[in-house]
C-alpha cells in the first residue's frame, strides 16, 4: 500500500495545480487597534482530485485562509494580498460579479455550523434548487428533481419529502449533509470544508467524513479540509499543511508527516493528544498558549513554547524550506530519519 500510495502521490505531484495560493496575506485593520496579520504569506497548491488539509489551533489563520480564497472576508477592515490562482485566473483580482459566478459553481464551501449556514425560513429543496437555477440556468421545476437526487446522493433518507422541510426540522448531521448537497450541486472542482464535523457528535462525524471521502473519490473533486483534529486529517488528507500563527510551519503527505513529524509544533501536538489506542501514559503538553507567541518579523513565533529552542530561534525568522514534497519552517527540527531540506530551495516569495 505504501508503495502504491507513494507512486500515486508522485504522479499527482506532477500534474498542474488546480488551485495555487501564493504568498496569501490577510491583515486585519480595526479602528484604533494595531494591524494584525491573521494569515502571513501562506502558499500551497491543490491538484485535481487531491485532498489537502489545513491544520492548526484556533487563531492559526486556517479559516481566514479559506475565507480569503473564497473572497468572503468583509472588505472593510481587512487587507488581502498575494495571489490565488484557480485554473489560470487570479481570484483575488476578479470583479465581485465574476467571483459570485464562480462561487458555488467552481468552488464551493461547507461551513462548521450547518444551522446558521442554511436559511431558516426557506425550505431545503428551494435552497438546493436555487444554486442550480443560479449557476446552471435551470427552472425551479427542472431543478427540484435534481435537488431530490442530490439529497439522496448525500444520504438523506426520503429525499422527496425532505425537500419541503425547513432546516430546523433536521438534525445536525442531516443539516450538514444538506449543506454538502448544496455545495456539490454544481459539481465544483474544488470543495472547501471548514471544520465540517466540529459541531457534530463523533458517530455523526464518522458518517460525514465517510460521505466526503466518497464524494471526492467518485467525482474527482479536490478538497481543502480545514480542521483542528489531527485524527480527521490522518484518515482523509493526501497532503497536510500545519499552520501556526498565520504561517505554514510544516507540510507533508500524511503518512510521512505523521510517521516522522519534523517541526516541534507538529511533534508536540501529536505527543499531547490522548490517543484512544494507547493506555494512559502521561501526556507531554505544549507549554503556554498562542498568547505567548513572538512576532514572526524577527523570530520564530513558536519559540517560547518550543521544546528545543536554540539561540537563533528568537533572532531570525525561519524560512519555509521545501524538499521531497515536504516543507518545514524550523531552525532546529526534530531529528529523525528524514534527510532534511539540505538540497531544498527556499520558497522565495515567502521570504520577508
Amino acid at each position: 500500500m505504501t508503495t502504491t500510495t507513494t507512486e500515486r502521490r508522485a504522479a499527482v505531484r506532477e500534474t498542474a495545480p488546480l488551485l495555487s495560493v501564493r504568498d496569501l496575506t490577510v491583515t486585519f485593520q480595526r479602528h484604533g487597534e494595531e494591524p494584525f496579520r491573521a494569515v502571513d504569506g501562506v502558499s500551497f497548491d491543490v491538484r485535481p482530485g487531491e485532498t489537502v488539509g489545513l491544520v492548526g489551533e484556533s487563531g492559526c489563520g486556517k479559516s481566514v485562509t479559506s475565507l480569503a480564497i473564497m473572497r468572503l472576508l468583509p472588505k472593510r477592515g481587512n487587507k488581502v494580498t498575494g495571489t490565488v490562482n484557480f485554473e489560470g485566473t487570479d481570484l483575488l483580482s476578479l470583479s465581485d460579479a465574476k467571483m459570485r459566478d464562480r462561487r458555488g459553481r467552481d468552488i464551493a464551501m461547507v461551513f462548521q455550523d450547518p444551522l446558521s449556514s442554511l436559511n431558516p425560513v426557506v425550505p431545503l429543496g428551494v435552497q438546493v434548487a436555487e444554486v442550480l437555477e443560479r449557476h446552471r440556468g435551470m427552472s425551479r421545476k427542472a431543478a427540484m428533481p435534481v435537488a431530490a437526487e442530490l439529497l439522496k446522493r448525500v444520504g438523506i433518507p426520503d429525499p422527496v419529502r425532505r425537500l419541503r422541510d425547513y432546516p430546523h426540522q433536521l438534525s445536525g448531521g442531516m443539516r450538514q449533509r444538506a449543506l454538502i448537497a448544496i455545495a456539490v450541486a454544481c459539481a465544483p472542482r474544488l470543495l472547501i470544508a471548514d471544520e465540517p464535523t466540529t459541531a457534530l457528535d463523533v458517530t455523526i462525524q464518522a458518517q460525514i467524513l465517510a460521505l466526503l471521502k466518497e464524494l471526492v473519490e467518485d467525482t474527482g473533486t479536490a478538497l481543502i479540509m480545514i480542521t483542528h483534529d489531527l485524527g480527521v486529517v490522518a484518515g482523509l488528507c493526501d497532503e497536510v499543511n500545519v499552520l501556526y500563527g498565520g504561517r505554514i510551519v510544516e507540510r507533508g503527505d500524511r503518512h510521512p508527516l505523521f510517521r516522522d513529524p519534523r517541526h516541534p509544533y507538529t511533534n508536540g501536538l501529536l505527543a499531547s493528544i490522548p490517543r484512544l489506542d494507547a493506555a494512559g501514559e502521561r501526556l507531554t503538553p505544549i507549554p503556554g498558549s498562542v498568547a505567548d507567541n513572538l512576532p514572526w518579523d524577527h523570530a520564530c513565533a513558536f519559540a517560547p513554547r518550543c521544546s528545543q529552542p536554540i539561540e537563533i530561534c528568537t533572532q531570525v525568522t525561519p524560512q519555509l524550506e521545501v524538499a521531497d514534497g515536504r516543507a518545514l519552517r524550523c531552525h532546529n527540527p526534530v531529528t529523525s530519519g528524514w534527510s532534511g531540506p539540505s538540497a531544498g530551495q527556499t520558497e522565495g516569495d515567502v521570504a520577508r
Binding site: M1, T2, P287, G288, D292, P304, C306, P309, I310
Partner: protein
C-alpha cells in the same frame, strides 16, 4: 491492502497488566514533573533565585503560559479604556458635561434675571409682540420682554432636575421590581411581570398624561412622578430579562455549586452582571425623559408657574408666534434635541463598549 505490516492495534493480549504498568509509571513520573512545574511557576513569578532553568531560559514559557506583571484590568475599566478613544462617546460626553455645568451654574452664567421683563416696554401686541435681538440681549426677548438667552440657560436646570430625578425614580422602581421578578422567579415573577405588561400596554405619553392630570395641582413633581412611573416597567422588564440570562449562566451555577448563599449570588454575581444594559438604558431614558418633560410642559401639565423657565413650556408658549417669530421655538427645540442627542450618543457608545461581543 498494505505491504508495510504495522500493528493496527496495540497488543491486546494483556491490556490490564499493560494498563497497570502505565499507571504506575505515570504516578512515578508525577513527583518529578510536578516538582518541576512548581519551580517553573516560581520562576514565572519573577524569582531569580530559582535554580531550574529551561534551556535556553529566555525563550521558554511556563506550562500555563505567561501572565503579565501589570495589575488586572476590570471590565468597567477596559470598557472605559475603549470609550476614551471613541469619538462618538466623547462628543456625547462633552455635550452632557456642558449641559450639566450650565445647569448647575445657570444663575451665575445667565447674563440677566430670567424673570424680569426688561424689554416689556418694547412689546406691542399688534406690531411687535416679540422684541428682537439688541445689545445686551443677543437672542432678544420673549412675549413678556424677558431675556431669551437667560431663560434658555436657566431653563436647563428644570430640564436636568426633571430628567435626572424622573429617570432615577424609574431606575430605582425598575430595579426593585426587576430584581424581585428576576431573582426570585416563580409567582412573584408572574405577578410583577403581569403588572409591568399592563403598564407597558398603555402608551407612555398617555400614561404620563393621565398621571399628570390626576394630580390636583400640577407642579414640577407631578411631572417627575409621571415620567418616572412610565420608566419603571421599561427598567423592570430589562433588568428581569438580564437577570434571567444571568440566572442560567455558568458562573452563577458555579457559585451555586460552590455553596455560596442566595443573597451574595444575587447581589454579587447576578446584579452587577445584569446592570450593563440597564445603565445603558438609563442614559437613553434620560434623553426620553427630557423630551417627555418638554412634551408634558408643552401641553401645560408642568409647573404652572410661568415665571420659572422650562424648555418645553417655552416651546409651548412659542406656538402663538410660530409664523412670525419661529426663532422663539427654534432655540428651546435645539436645546432639547442637542441634550437628548448627547445622552443618546453616550448611551449607544456605552452599549457598544459593554457588549461582550465587540470586546477584543
Amino acid at each position: 491492502m498494505s505491504d508495510s505490516p504495522k500493528p493496527t492495534n496495540p497488543n491486546p493480549t494483556n491490556p490490564i497488566a499493560r494498563y497497570r504498568e502505565a499507571r504506575k509509571e505515570r504516578i512515578d513520573s508525577l513527583a518529578q514533573l510536578s516538582a518541576r512545574d512548581r519551580v517553573a511557576v516560581g520562576a514565572g513569578a519573577g524569582g531569580p533565585g530559582s535554580d531550574w532553568t529551561p534551556s535556553p531560559d529566555e525563550v521558554s514559557v511556563t506550562e500555563s503560559g505567561t501572565i503579565e506583571e501589570k495589575p488586572g484590568v476590570s471590565l468597567w475599566r477596559s470598557a472605559w479604556l475603549r470609550l476614551r478613544r471613541n469619538p462618538v462617546f466623547l462628543l456625547g460626553l462633552t455635550i452632557t458635561i456642558i449641559f450639566v455645568l450650565v445647569a448647575i451654574f445657570a444663575p451665575w452664567i445667565a447674563p440677566k434675571d430670567p424673570v424680569t421683563g426688561y424689554l416689556i416696554d418694547q412689546v406691542r401686541r399688534q406690531t411687535n409682540p416679540v422684541p428682537g435681538p439688541q445689545p445686551g440681549f443677543p437672542l432678544g426677548g420673549d412675549h413678556l420682554g424677558r431675556d431669551l438667552l437667560s431663560r434658555l440657560i436657566v431653563g436647563s436646570r428644570q430640564t436636568l432636575i426633571v430628567g435626572v430625578l424622573a429617570t432615577f425614580g424609574g431606575f430605582i422602581g425598575g430595579l426593585i421590581l426587576g430584581t424581585l421578578a428576576g431573582a426570585l422567579g416563580g409567582w412573584v415573577d408572574s405577578l410583577v411581570m403581569r403588572l409591568v405588561d399592563v403598564m407597558l400596554s398603555i402608551p407612555s405619553l398617555v400614561l404620563a398624561l393621565s398621571i399628570g392630570a390626576v394630580a390636583s395641582r400640577p407642579s414640577q413633581w407631578t411631572l417627575i412622578i409621571a415620567i418616572a412611573v412610565v420608566q419603571v416597567p421599561i427598567f423592570a422588564r430589562l433588568l428581569r430579562g438580564s437577570l434571567l440570562a444571568q440566572r442560567s449562566s455558568d458562573h452563577v451555577l458555579a457559585a451555586q455549586a460552590l455553596g455560596i448563599k442566595r443573597g451574595p449570588i444575587i447581589f454579587r454575581h447576578m446584579l452587577p452582571n445584569a446592570m450593563g444594559p440597564v445603565i445603558v438604558q438609563a442614559t437613553l431614558a434620560l434623553a426620553v425623559a427630557i423630551i417627555d418633560a418638554a412634551a408634558l410642559s408643552f401641553i401645560g401639565l408642568g409647573d404652572p408657574d410661568q415665571r420659572t423657565p422650562e424648555w418645553g413650556a417655552m416651546l409651548g408658549q412659542a406656538q402663538t408666534y410660530i409664523y412670525d417669530h419661529p426663532h422663539l421655538a427654534y432655540y428651546p427645540a435645539i436645546c432639547i434635541i442637542v441634550v437628548a442627542l448627547g445622552f443618546t450618543l453616550m448611551g449607544e457608545s456605552l452599549r457598544e463598549a459593554l457588549d461582550p461581543k465587540t470586546r477584543r
